[in-house]
Symmetry: C2
């Protein structure tokens, strides 16, 4: 079957799925959970082949770690499916009700988006997670996993397919494609695919963004900042700057650049350097930083670099304005934090920094769907339309308007024989 034919089937499935009941969707998810549980052996066997090939191909240990499944990890995957069952159905919510006139009522109702294209790297658990999130939100999905996880993905996909294929509503709802050539084809199918969600490296995301007319949900860079204001509590600033960089450096919401107000720079930089040195953080400072602590030199390139590692650029600024300007200019509009006891400075920072998440007196690492309480995360978006910041199930929905009358025609309102009441009911 061609990729276009797969997309067509997916689109037809999406139309059926849009009116699936919550029970039907939860039952399908439960069947998936059970099918995964009952076929652990097949999953582990296929995964072993992938891991063996990955080792042969000399992939990095961290890549292999993300690729590798275990009985415990399969538990987590199944637990993940069941937690999606527990989430509220995001479809069919009445978002607004307006009486336009007597017996003419407008409802704004949440609906699925349609057919979602998902391209992800290495982690085979992403296949299950994204499939179940799409099904729960009534969307069909067409998936492309990393080639390193080819065998694992195929088995996981088949177990999902087997679990739902007998049910006419869910038939063809999840499609798998496998090669890079397939991805190039997918990206052309803006007629069928409503949204692309790339989950993986900056390079992957940027490639998708630059090569399709389909809307893309996600973010490429995560260049996050912490700004330590002159009125910061010193101990709090050190704790937050340490957590934002060191708690987990390889992720998008870790801090890459630390901005420090000149009035507090001497005391703060000395204190944080001790902490960073213990963790082996490489510091790259501008001239004024280097006048206070010993470190490497930061160049302009550093302000736009996401290290994803225990490396950090630091800059001394003279004002809140300078900090905000730096962040809006060099940042990636992902997550940025201020540490200060000055409420007015905080308020300005929260309003004027143009990022998806802005924080006051806490670590950038909180920027995450689970920590935000969304239950499940589709990804983090730095888009300025549709969904921004950590995206939960809601991000996989849109709405339609339903207008219910008893024979009304527009001519009566244009000619003044009838008048709109426009009474907001909900």
């Amino acid at each position: 079957m061609s990729i276009e034919e797969q997309a067509k089937l997916g689109r037809e499935a999406a139309l059926r799925l849009a009116s699936a009941s919550t029970d039907a969707k939860n039952n399908a998810l439960e069947r998936i959970a059970r099918n995964l549980d009952e076929n652990r052996g097949d999953i582990l066997e296929a995964n072993e082949m992938d891991v063996k090939e990955a080792k042969k191909a000399n992939l990095t240990p961290s890549l292999i770690k993300r690729l590798e499944l275990s009985d415990k990890k399969i538990d987590d995957i199944i637990e993940g499916v069941r937690s999606v069952i527990g989430l509220e159905d995001p479809v069919g919510k009445v978002l607004m009700t307006t009486e336009l006139d007597e017996s003419l009522t407008l409802y704004k109702v949440s609906t699925p988006i349609g057919l979602i294209g998902v391209i992800f790297e290495s982690r085979p658990d992403a296949l299950v997670q994204i499939s179940t999130l799409c099904l729960k939100s009534g969307n069909a999905a067409i998936l492309k996993g990393g080639s390193e996880a080819k065998n694992s993905n195929r088995v996981l996909f088949n177990l999902i397919k087997d679990a739902i294929e007998e049910d006419a509503i869910f038939k063809d709802a999840i499609q798998l494609v496998e090669t890079r050539e397939d991805v190039r084809e997918l990206l052309k199918l803006d007629e069928y695919i409503d949204l692309m969600i790339p989950r993986g490296s900056n390079t992957l995301v940027r490639y998708i963004q630059e090569n399709t007319k389909i809307p893309v949900l996600g973010h490429s860079d995560g260049i996050c900042h912490v700004y330590v204001d002159k009125d910061a509590d010193l101990k709090m600033a050190v704790d937050i700057a340490f957590d934002a960089k060191c708690q987990y450096a390889a992720v998008c919401n870790a801090m890459e650049t630390l901005l420090v107000h000149s009035a507090i720079a001497d005391a703060f930089l000395a204190a944080i350097k001790t902490r960073y040195d213990e963790q082996g953080v490489e510091i790259r400072g501008d001239e004024r930083v280097r006048a206070i602590i010993e470190c490497a030199e930061a160049t302009d390139e550093d302000w736009v670099t996401e290290y994803n590692d225990l490396i950090l650029s630091i800059k001394v600024v003279d004002s809140l304005d300078d900090a905000i300007d730096h962040i809006n200019r060099y940042g990636s509009h992902h997550t940025d934090a201020i540490v200060t006891a000055d409420e007015r400075a905080a308020e300005r920072f929260l309003n004027e920094v143009d990022s998806s998440s802005v924080m006051w007196n806490c670590s950038t690492r909180f920027s995450d769907g689970y920590r935000y309480g969304f239950g499940a995360e589709v990804g983090i978006s730095t888009n300025k339309i549709h969904a921004r910041g950590p995206v939960g199930l809601d991000g996989l929905t849109i709405y339609k308007y339903k207008l219910i009358g008893n024979g009304q025609v527009v001519e009566d309102y244009v000619e003044g024989r009838k008048k709109f009441t426009h009474r907001r009911l909900v």
Copy 2:
């Protein structure tokens, strides 16, 4: 100044505008209204030049009618600005509040999108409308009007600019570009422009959609359907089918294809033909329609044609399913209506027709921001993300997350020393 430099200025203005107070925005709008009022002579003079040139260039009477301003039309424009002042500020609304833990609170707050590119044709009043909608929602805008309205647009733009330029917050917030070459440049500036809104012909919209990586809000085709079910009230069906086609045929929410259930086709088609004949509607029917009434032949091309005129294609179907399939296959996902007394058929139609507005027992012509009670309309969107259907001021906003703590770090939660409460407050 180059287009890129204009866009850069617009982007900087957008950052300032994002924290403008409601009063500041309303005052700016009031200054605009007054400046327009005090300079009617200049507007009319420039418009006269445009109209003279348009007549010389033999533009169609309907184009010239849309281009032409009068004292009365200027009243309407000013009234439009004042009505935007009266609308609720869509920015700064707290959409959700969640306690993540004690003294760690997450707020989801509506924000402007940023810099909006607007490309519109002929009507000079669109320039004022879209500028004021953008300013009210805290967005900057870069505008390109139709070349036919060049002189009118320039005067209107300058009056807006003069009214707000002195105010540092609003400086550079509205930019004008003039040539087609400028538009080509604009479409490349996805780094600066967050959203494009084209308002005009299908050709214009499709050109924009196909030539930019910037998200585009709008719709190209408006191929709307009315489906007359077997259980329709005959008189109601005739009234609705008449209104949907004849009330104003040149607009996107007018019906282009009428679907009729075979069980009611004889009686209904005879009745509606009399009404259409009175208005001179050209009917193109499929074979089964032509067996009942005299009319031209509909080809497959007709099912995908937006006539924007007193022309209509009619098809006889044998079931609700056939009607839904036809609409989802050939329609443009804009607005579609069912006429029926059967509640279950209506419910299925409303759920399964994949369009931005779906209607039961009323005319497709209701699909409109003013009629829906939004106060002002940015346009009608058939997108599947961000905003769908008639788009009000809300469609010009997105949101950001603000997380406010008192020193929290993620490590404490990862290590189990602290636990999230995730208590939804609003």
